[in-house]
């Protein structure tokens, strides 16, 4: 089964779950399907076990909907990443027994590792943030935030937006390496413009590469958005082509190149980055890209 079909099968099953169509979910699973709810140490076997597993969550959170935000497919497997969101209006049967309805809203991170066999769901290992769930159900107190940023818990989206703005405005535009050091986590990687090494050092080197081509490089931020542990920014890079860049000798041309990016935060720092940039526009502005066909893009 091609890898994308594994992801599609998962989406079909989640859609059926969201609609409460358990029969459809069961029909897409093998007879010996096995679900392991890792944080609770619970195992559900066979199609009836699968039904019990689904029913348990739908009873506790009737408005629970699952939409994977990330899927990684491989041969015979797919990993689905999502946030479980809903309202606790029914009993939930946890490892220590029944947790009666609290009316609280839940919103916690989940990863499900699925095994696929014969185009059907054969196994699930479900990992979720049980501490956060217990806190959201009011069973365990939230820990106090440790000031200074070093905490095992994520900062708020508002704080994450401030970090992105500071990175661009202080770290990049005002050239503060101290701010880059403060905000970029040691495991930082950029998926679209790979850095030579991870972490703040890699970020600084990649920035240095852009600066050597455009010494007056600066970013105009137009928008910053955040949700959960991610933020996105949209802006325009400005600079003058005064040094060699990507093999192109200095042209002296001024550039204005739009970009949009997404950042992921961990422990109060920026650790992962995806960037899309108008490289076509950049090449055209430098006068080096032929424009094929009648349209310019």
């Amino acid at each position: 089964m091609p890898y994308e079909d594994n992801a599609k099968l998962a989406r079909n099953i989640y859609d059926a779950f969201n609609k409460g169509d358990f029969e459809r979910c069961l029909s897409l699973a093998t007879e010996d399907v096995e679900i392991v709810l890792v944080p609770f140490g619970q195992v559900f076997r066979g199609r009836e076990g699968f039904r019990t597993f689904m029913q348990g969550f739908k009873t506790a959170f009737p408005d629970l909907t699952i939409n994977p935000t990330n899927q990684v497919s491989a041969e015979g497997a797919v990993v689905n990443e999502f946030r479980a969101k809903g309202t606790h209006t029914g009993s939930l049967f946890g490892p220590a027994g029944e947790i009666p309805a609290t009316g609280n809203k839940i919103d916690y991170a989940v990863i499900e590792v699925w095994g696929i066999r014969d185009s059907r769901l054969a196994s699930i290992r479900n990992y979720f943030d049980s501490a956060t769930l217990m806190q959201q159900l009011g069973l365990v107190p939230f820990p106090e935030r440790v000031s200074g940023g070093a905490t095992a818990f994520t900062a708020s989206p508002a704080e994450n937006k401030v970090m992105v703005r500071r990175l661009f405005e202080e770290g990049i535009n005002r050239g503060s390496t101290a701010v880059i050091q403060e905000l970029i986590g040691p495991s930082y990687v950029n998926h679209d413009f790979p850095t030579p090494v991870p972490g703040p050092e890699g970020f600084k080197q990649m920035l240095g590469m852009f600066r050597s081509g455009f010494p007056d490089l600066r970013v105009d931020l137009h928008d910053v958005l955040a949700e959960g542990d991610k933020a996105a920014s949209r802006g325009t890079w400005h600079g003058t082509h005064q040094g060699e860049f990507m093999g192109i000798p200095a042209t002296g041309k001024r550039i204005a190149v739009t970009y949009t990016d997404i950042w992921r935060f961990e422990n109060g720092k920026l650790v992962e980055n995806w960037v899309q940039m108008d490289l076509m526009g950049l090449m055209q502005q430098l006068g080096v890209a032929p424009a094929p066909g009648p349209a310019s893009k």
């Binding site: 939409n67 958005l225 991610k230 949009t260 997404i262 899309q276 076509m280 094929p292 310019s296």
Partner: protein, 142 residues
């Protein structure tokens, strides 16, 4: 509301880009939608539909997979990966038969349950390089 906004964008990608059901865009966009980063022959929804049709003609098996979504307020950010085989004419380029894969990040501003403004950023230069119609920069000739 954020989840509903995310669904509007998901439906746009699934219907117009994956299924080629460009007509579905009528329910998802306002007529005067402003599109940034994707030049249109005609402004607004009609031009955007034309662009989506062009991509389906160029890449009949074109398929976008959503990699990441985040939403705040009236905006949704979606990162997707698009894969397709160049079997039809695209912007004056005759079909090359080449397979392309590219990533894009879009931002959609939702107003009154429809997309009112759409920003798209993707590596068009990379696409043209994958099709073999543009050389890598810095190379002499083809």
């Amino acid at each position: 509301m954020s989840e509903h906004n995310k669904d509007i964008v998901r439906r746009f990608l699934e219907e117009a880009w994956n299924k080629g059901n460009v007509g579905a865009m009528d329910e998802l966009f306002i007529r005067d939608v402003v599109v940034h980063g994707f030049p249109l022959q005609t402004p607004g929804l009609e031009g955007f539909k034309e662009g989506a049709r062009m991509y389906k003609v160029a890449f009949p098996d074109g398929h976008a997979v959503i990699e990441d979504v985040l939403a705040e307020g009236d905006k949704v950010v979606t990162r997707w990966t698009y894969t397709g085989t160049h079997k039809g004419e695209m912007m004056g380029i005759p079909p090359t038969g080449k397979r392309v894969t590219f990533t894009g990040i879009i931002i959609d501003r939702i107003a009154g349950g429809k997309i009112a403004e759409h920003w798209v950023e993707f590596d068009m230069l990379g696409v043209l390089q994958q099709l073999g119609v543009v050389p890598q920069p810095g190379q002499s000739g083809r």
